[in-house]
Assembly symmetry: D3
Homo-oligomer: 244 residues x 6
């Protein structure tokens, strides 16, 4: 099997780490190609960045998915997931979705531990969109940005453990979903310190996608994920998407 | 007051009609500038088109909103609404949001009558994201595309009346939200045929936004709609977003 | 436009303040007539007072609404709102409803800051009745009665700021709805101290109602708000409604 | 035990029938006094009538409850129930509440069969207010008014059976709650024709209240149903509440 | 009336206490026979024990229910309740169900105070299964096991009071359901210390069942609680169910 | 990997078919041992049968799970799932759970097509218990028993296709979960006739469990699925569980 793993942000070091993490849990014979879109933000912590990244991500998936057996969107808001399902001829899985669904099999309720407080409502909406609010005990932030997690794993580990312990002690969490792709490599370091299953979405998505493909499932085409009808597009004149 | 009304699709005739509809209900002294993004799909009926259009829309809003007192996103999925709130220094209202909120004041429950069946799950998600599922009796499709509605108002009126009557008779709808910006000009023609209030989101958004500004409200900045932090973006090399 | 603003309690000083607040945000040309019912409690903090006041309020609306273009019920439980819709020939808006709907456009979730703790379950029910529980972060009491707020605005401001800050810090509130008509005049004093939008229902209701009327909407008559059928009433023999 | 059973409408024949029905299922030793308020509508089918009747009902309960061990509000919207709990020194049960709670013990989900279609949203709100929406399969109207049910039991029986069978066949109902006090005497005639338990709220309320009192429970006073604080009331000058 | 009260665990002293408590609130003429299954765990604090006990309980009910007018399952997870309804020819009530339904008539929201923390998710699921999550303020554990409660009522009382007070102060509880059959005899001792109604499920079930039978209700047979079809069973060879 | 696949009913032919189906989708190297409990009903279509089978199933799992890497409960009510998690030292997956979670990745909403109508409320409760009601479009019965499906695959296929098409056409289903283990082998025959993904829980559970184990996840032990405390059990004297 060949999987395309898209890191929707454009930080190459993080894309590489995601690739490493995906390969760590991939079966022998599962090939992982990791990729960032050609354009977009260096990290995603809010809606604006997510929407810009989502467009770049789905554009990339539209072009590249035909060469793969499955696609993984590796950012914990699942940016562009439903759009990607429409344009990819193969199954697409988001890392938030995958980690939450898999968490449902090992714990009664899970909490998501994520980056800055501003991401909390964004992820609460994402949980609701997946219809999993009854299984989600809480979304807990850390004081860290995406890039700080990438650059300082020791601090990240410490903050994730802290927030996870609070989720277990106060919110009824029985499993922790790591709410940022950059947190993934810390999964097995955090787990014994917290004492409950800790799930990285990249790992979960690889395993879910292998299972989906082994079973021969394809994305449903009757309504939500129907391929787009042929349609005129006004072309984009080259302009950078940049903050003022 | 000066309002920027963005039609997220790139069909200019529709943008003009939306402008006309907005001005029809704007107060004297409210100036309406209608606009499409510089790039993107001619119409929006699914997730892929919505995500591409959302990015183009929020990019446009980021650039243009500072010249206005308020912004309206005039497509019935509210594409990019939460992202727009982050980057606009002024209030932003979506037409789906506005029509649903206003419908809550004139009917016990509302139904949304929209375009093709494929749009139904997309709009059901949108309703859930706004937390209004208890007030939404149903989302009913018509067999029409966005552009067919634009080009053939007589058929559109007939189909909207038909679906609306079914919503009132079978689903408990007491008001109808027109689930496509292109349906807006038909509001007052449909209403007497259905016998319940019929709400166009463009009109509702204009009125909500006038009210929000009269009252001096601004978008909350503490979490969900905090301005994006300064951040590197990888620039986009000119490439059209086009179907294969 | 002419609006009838009913303060369901019978404290005239409060009725006047509500009138002032309504006029503060009304458009030029919007005439506000404020009024209390002829009978009923001096303030409303529980169900009994609310039910008595509701009957007096709807009786008044039935009689007076035909002289107006719209009606506002200015007590934060929206007493008698649905009944008023049945008997008024014009749109009716409640201040709780209006503030919550408008809050949805400026914040991801809102909290309601209100009077005594006993009002909390009453307002939680009201939120549920409007179907907005997914948008309401919390209902927070203050130690103040309605009349204490009326008489001691400085204490009221201090207590409202305190409870609002707690709602923002602990409950995820991104906007504050002032949960008592008497709190309204403090909106712009509280707002900068809390750092999120603060919404007075009287102001919101005036703006919503202007918008509803500009757009030409009327209350739906097909079910929930159908006019009452003609029916015999047993007359009331004069007796005061008084506590033992 | 002595129970005060209030029929919130002022149709004496119906009050008597409710008394008969209550006594039919009361234990030996339970005394039933049935009563209508001194004023108000002859029947209740909408919000306006319900609010007027609620005020008259709670006023009556406030005055009369001290002479009883428990109070039953015998109209299927439970008008004034929460207010009555505040002012009665003894437990108060509504017939809608009682029938729904008891239905939960004999069927997986229940439907409510009621009067005119206009009552459907009113009762759906009532179900939500009691938090029982997950147990309620549907609210089904009949074409009958309250007084037609009272006057023509044969038609009532036929229509109730018809709507009940539809609820069982199409909505998943496993029990039927009779959604009008006037339907109560038909319970045992309807039941064998429908083939599922049929519950009259008057009977259920009598049984629930006997149980509550046997067990020595009293209404909680810590918040929602706290006694009203002493407070000034503006007296009512004698005026009939009458339709124009 | 003759009631079979099953204590699903096999601790005889507890079975006797449950019998005493049931008789304390039973009407004159209601005969209570208390019983444990012939096999199964000494106490129930988790899912495994609950499932084993449920099978033993429903087997017992299948055999013994024909001799009774009604059955009560006296363990606060209502183990086997829906199965018992299928095989008993008479009504069956669970003590959790009964206490929650009755609590709905005396408080706006109730909390459940139970045994070890591990029981919390189990009871949260039970609340959801009964569809009462909107009425349940919280499930609060104590540090006590079932058998410690049985053996040390003084400690039990102290811990129950402590957890109950926290539920009232922090969670909005207006009534307390005692979440273990063994806590029942403490109801009237705890109540005055907490200041809200305290409900023992055994007492509530007795009263609910008396009411159900007085009214002549029977379990619905159309779907969820239809009698099992005749069917082959593979016989069990004698083996103890024991922990390793 | 070695998986224990328990068919909770005692029909050996069905157990063998489940084993075949599990092996069809298992990876090379995954060993499947299929098994029925030593006692219990020949098929499971209601609560009584489910509870008896659940006890037999969890007893078997308790004894046998230590020899395996993972356990699958192969009956579409997931009987005893949470109990099995407590006593198995390895992950346990239910086929209902697995098919629903996997369906979430290929369709916006799924329907469950199952056996007799009596199973509908049982499965609706199961969906709620897993917190997936927002993703479940409907539970649709067929007129077939479990054993008829086993014995007459042609009829089963025809009825499943019929019910599935109705779910897609009327309920908004975009994927179909086969709501009986015996339906599993028909998955790929039904799928092209219905035109949406069709998921057999046995296949899904095998794939989910392989993924869970590849990733090294274990069941959370902090609360819901904590191992049972050591405890006395009263031994069972040999008696067959048989219908009268």
């Amino acid at each position: 099997m060949r999987f395309l793993v898209i890191n929707p942000n454009t930080t190459d070091a993080m894309t590489e780490d995601i690739g490493v993490q995906a390969r760590r849990y991939a079966r022998e014979g599962t090939v992982i190609d990791e990729l960032s879109p050609a354009w977009g933000p260096a990290s995603i912590e809010g809606h604006y960045e997510e929407y810009v990244a989502a467009a770049a991500t789905v554009e990339t998936i539209k072009e590249r998915a035909p060469d793969y057996d499955g696609v993984i969107i590796a950012c914990y808001g699942d940016p562009g997931l439903f759009a990607a399902r429409e344009v990819a001829p193969v199954p697409v899985v988001g890392i938030a979705e995958a980690s939450m669904l898999m968490a449902c099999t090992v714990g009664h309720r899970f909490s998501i531990v994520t980056v800055l407080p501003r991401a909390v409502p964004l992820l609460e909406d994402m949980v609701r969109l997946h219809g999993l609010e009854a299984r989600c005990a809480s979304v807990r932030p850390t004081p860290l940005t995406v890039l700080e997690i990438e650059k300082d794993p020791a601090s990240a580990e410490r903050e994730i453990v802290k927030a996870s312990k609070e989720a277990v002690a106060n919110d009824g969490a029985e499993a922790i979903c790591l709410g940022c792709a950059g947190m993934g490599p810390l999964d097995k370091a955090v787990e014994p310190q917290v004492g409950v299953p800790v799930l990285d979405g990249v790992a979960c998505a690889v395993k879910m996608l292998e299972g989906i493909l082994d079973y021969g499932l394809q994305t449903s085409r009757v309504a939500a994920f129907k391929e787009p009808e042929p349609k005129a597009y006004r072309e984009r004149v080259d302009r950078a998407v940049q903050p003022a």
